[in-house]
Symmetry: C2
Subunit: 369 residues, 2 copies
DNA sequence: AAAATTTAGCAACAGCGTTGCGTAATAGGG
DNA sequence: CCCTATTACGCAACGCTGTTGCTAAATTTT
């Protein structure tokens, strides 16, 4: 845990991150753009820009001639100044992506994982994949780290896999620690769905409001972006949205309860009635909207993307019907812009975010002795 | 909206708020206590403490003699240095409370409101009630403001009541503005449930993790505390948790959907089967835990408190059954420590929080022109 | 009475954004 | 062609933050 005290170094990181967010969202920008967006003084922005140029993160890119007056210098992010690798660890496959500072996915590769793979087998697969990707343009020196998005439950703060669902050799594995040792890179571990929603938020910039990523892929999960940050919950266990009861008299689920969203949805899909399955999922999504009041819903996951239009239509219709009562209640519904890469890409962006995003002011916990 | 830029004044507010949080949580504290809790240097803490003493917010309260060495100065919050008044506006009643800087409720008064009361009638009732309370100890000068917790929907950011459920004269009423003008006090407007959870968080201090306040009172609502702040959602409409579907084949609800938690619960309660009603509510609570992974669940609301032990037992049992699978998944369940005052008290604490809590670093939205 | 230990705070410092003001670069008008 | 208005940029001084170095004070132990 990096304890960040509220000193002036926080200010530097914070305002730098604001400028970086502008650069990531807009292709090019000027000093006045940042001034408007942040409320900082022009002089302060100049200082921040000078620091970022010195670090090679942004560069001047010509001038704008608006007519009268001295032309404004135009700046642009240097996307290839930093990279991160993201890994999506599923039950049978490992997906690796290379993401640059702008959030663009450059390479994507899927490799199979042995049935019931062990931590060692995963590390070997990661090692091989990273060497291949990092060797492409000799970008080892510009590699910020590795992000891993994985099925839970896990402990994000301590980088610990508690008990990955359906994998026998994954009980209390300190994956972050052993991966950092094995790979010689900073490693960030998070739940797959949380990584996924981070990808959407990182690419949309500071305008992205409260949002959820709904993932249907051997189970139903949800990743949440609330109040400008990923929501992980008290024990990194948020998002078990598939195990919310939507039918009190429904069939018994593997989790022990009756009528979970997941089992009801699964039964419908199994029977071949995808349209019905999609409507069931839509009920769950509207439940989320009622509870959390979200601005965006993003749909993802292999099983969903296989029938993407059916799901998109069902959820859009249900959300629209719900919001019809009030015109000020608007929520966008969309398929993930990154498709199958969303989890891995988001894991990579979490690493970039740790370095170039808003620094966490770890509200210090007053832990009793 | 107070746009806070990330300058040194933020640092001051932030670190002062940390010290105030320590003072609020602990009866008394020393410099070393704060150093441990915040990670600041002793010298920095000394400066902060000096500022707070100058403002009359804390005071020296003797010394501690731990044995060897110079005794440490003990400090204590001065609870009566600042007050705030909180109002809970329900359909038929107005509840007013006086809360001090420590979060202690000093006076509580309930007065009836006319059926279908108008904004003017509410303002008059507020005016009378505030004059009575503020006159008690001539604490007008120490009054920070008025917090109003009200049924929604409303717009927290703009202080606007959009369309209060079941009240005819409340469509797009700029309540904050007209109340500030009428009462001559800063006014803070929020949903009732959000105010309620703020009360719990403010009293528990920085150790309070993600939490929900479940309120059963002419409807079922939820207030959320996530990531160290109240969660209001994209349109201040979070918490409509009573209108989440738990029974796909259930009876039709007033909201148009079938099998909402609220209608299913209501039918059971109407039939006199409170135990069953409580179990239905408990299913909804567990749904929340699955989705959000909360550390605390607080139960409140007049209809619930009337059978508090039945509800407490049902929810505790359901939460325990759910967490049994994993020992690291712990969630506390409790009745609100403030009882019927929780909404009004929370509204008052929101006012205090704006002045003496962690300052918001309003992540500036890059709003397109 | 002297040494050891712990706490408190003054003074100088580095670094942040802000303010004041001078300079550079352009278009338009005389 | 030159002058002026306009816009953008940045140096220098400043106020404020927390930090660092060091001295002084208050107590117990030897």
């Amino acid at each position: 845990m990096t304890r960040v005290t509220a000193d002036v170094t926080f200010l530097r990181g914070y305002n730098q991150a604001l400028v970086m967010a502008v650069g990531r969202t807009a292709r090019t920008f000027e000093r006045s753009t940042v001034v408007e967006a942040t409320g900082l003084t022009p002089q302060a922005v100049s200082k921040v820009i000078a620091r970022l140029i010195a670090d090679g993160l942004i560069r001047p890119a010509g001038v704008r001639r608006p007519g009268i007056g001295k032309p404004a210098v135009v700046y642009a992010l240097v996307p290839d100044s930093r990279y991160a690798i993201g890994a999506h660890v599923a039950r049978r496959t490992l997906r690796l992506v290379l993401v640059d500072l702008a959030g663009t996915v450059h390479h994507s590769a899927v490799s199979p994982l042995p049935r019931d793979f062990t931590p060692e087998q995963l590390l070997d697969a990661l090692s091989v994949g990273i060497d291949t990707m990092a060797g492409i343009g000799d970008l080892r020196s510009r590699l910020t780290g590795l992000g891993i998005g994985m099925i839970g439950p896990l402990d994000h703060a301590n980088g610990l896999v508690r008990d990955a669902h359906g994998l026998r050799h994954w009980h209390d594995v300190p994956l972050r620690e052993i991966a950092e040792k094995h790979l010689g890179l900073p490693v960030h571990l998070d739940k797959d769905v949380t990584a996924g929603i981070t990808a959407e938020a990182w690419r949309h910039g500071a305008t992205f409001g409260d949002a959820a990523l709904i993932m249907v892929e051997s189970g139903i999960g949800g990743g949440f972006w609330l109040g400008g940050a990923a929501h992980r919950g008290a024990h990194t266990n948020a998002g078990e949205f598939g195990h919310t009861v939507v039918d009190l008299t429904g069939p018994r689920c593997v989790c022990g309860r009756h009528g979970c969203l997941e089992i009801v949805h699964h039964r419908a899909a199994e029977a071949g009635d995808i349209a019905h399955a999609a409507r069931v999922l839509a009920v769950g999504v509207v439940n989320l909207l009622q509870t959390l009041d979200l601005a965006h819903v993003v749909l993802a996951g292999a099983d969903l993307l296989r029938h993407s239009q059916t799901y998109l239509a069902a959820v859009t219709e249900a959300v629209g019907a719900d919001a019809r009562r009030a015109d000020w209640l608007s929520t966008t519904v969309a398929l993930s812009s990154l498709g199958a890469d969303v989890i891995a890409a988001g894991a990579a962006m979490q690493v970039l975010d740790q370095h170039y995003g808003i620094p966490e002011l770890a509200h210090p916990l007053i832990v009793g002795s």
